[in-house]
């Protein structure tokens, strides 16, 4: 256990290079970090969703209040981001479940499915944006 001293020292003196913009992230990494970011966004949205659920069930008036939230452009933009987060988290989550079952575990398939997941999320986003604008 007397080795922990010197080991800690070298660990703290180790140079760090954390320019995020210069890190090359492979497509599987992009799918993964988006899964994480979308998860945090979804986490933050939970209390607002429960509040909306509560209002929507209280009375016809408060139900209308919930639907009128979406008349606001900021709320629409915000909902679109949340919807995208949900879509990506959903698709990437299914991919991770399959990877856990050793489905598509080889690098070539894993890269292809990561790209597919990213594109599927973006497709939902684009369709939703078009739906909102029309």
């Amino acid at each position: 256990m007397d080795k922990t001293g010197p080991l800690m020292l070298t660990k703290t003196r180790r140079p760090k290079y954390l320019n995020v913009l210069k890190i090359y992230l492979p497509v599987t990494g992009v799918a993964s970090i988006l899964h994480r970011i979308s998860g945090v966004l979804l986490f933050l949205s939970i209390p607002f969703l429960i509040y909306a659920l509560s209002l929507s069930l209280r009375s016809p008036e408060s139900f209308a209040q919930v639907t009128s939230f979406f008349d606001n452009m900021f709320m629409r933009a915000f909902s679109l981001i949340l919807l995208y987060s949900l879509a990506h988290h959903f698709f990437a989550g299914i991919r991770f479940l399959l990877l856990d079952l050793d489905v598509g575990i080889d690098l070539k398939t894993a890269r292809a499915s990561a790209l597919g997941v990213i594109l599927a999320g973006l497709l939902v986003f684009v369709l939703a944006v078009v739906g909102v604008l029309l």
Partner: protein, 113 residues
Amino acid sequence: MSIRAQGMRAWLLQRLSGAYIGLYLLIALFTLGTGPVLDYTRWHHLLSQPVVSIASLLFFFFILIHAWVGIRDVLLDYVQLTALRFSILIVLALGLLTMGIWVSMILFSVVRL
């Protein structure tokens, strides 16, 4: 070694809850996407059915678990200061617990048994 110490329980819970949440959302999307326009009457009637409100209660229960395991993983990666991480986790756990009680009260007030 216990299942908890190895992180096996969290791993399994995250996958089980994720699978349930995904299935619930697919069924919800199909149910709400088909049939008449969603107004208050239909919405309220839908959630007053025991099957729906119990499935929804389970849905929120799993969401809170999924959120807990997920955010804990994130915090373990980025918040290196143990005391700070512990404090944040306690606040979040209390928040999630409160939300669980809150959503249970909402659903129990609607269900017609």
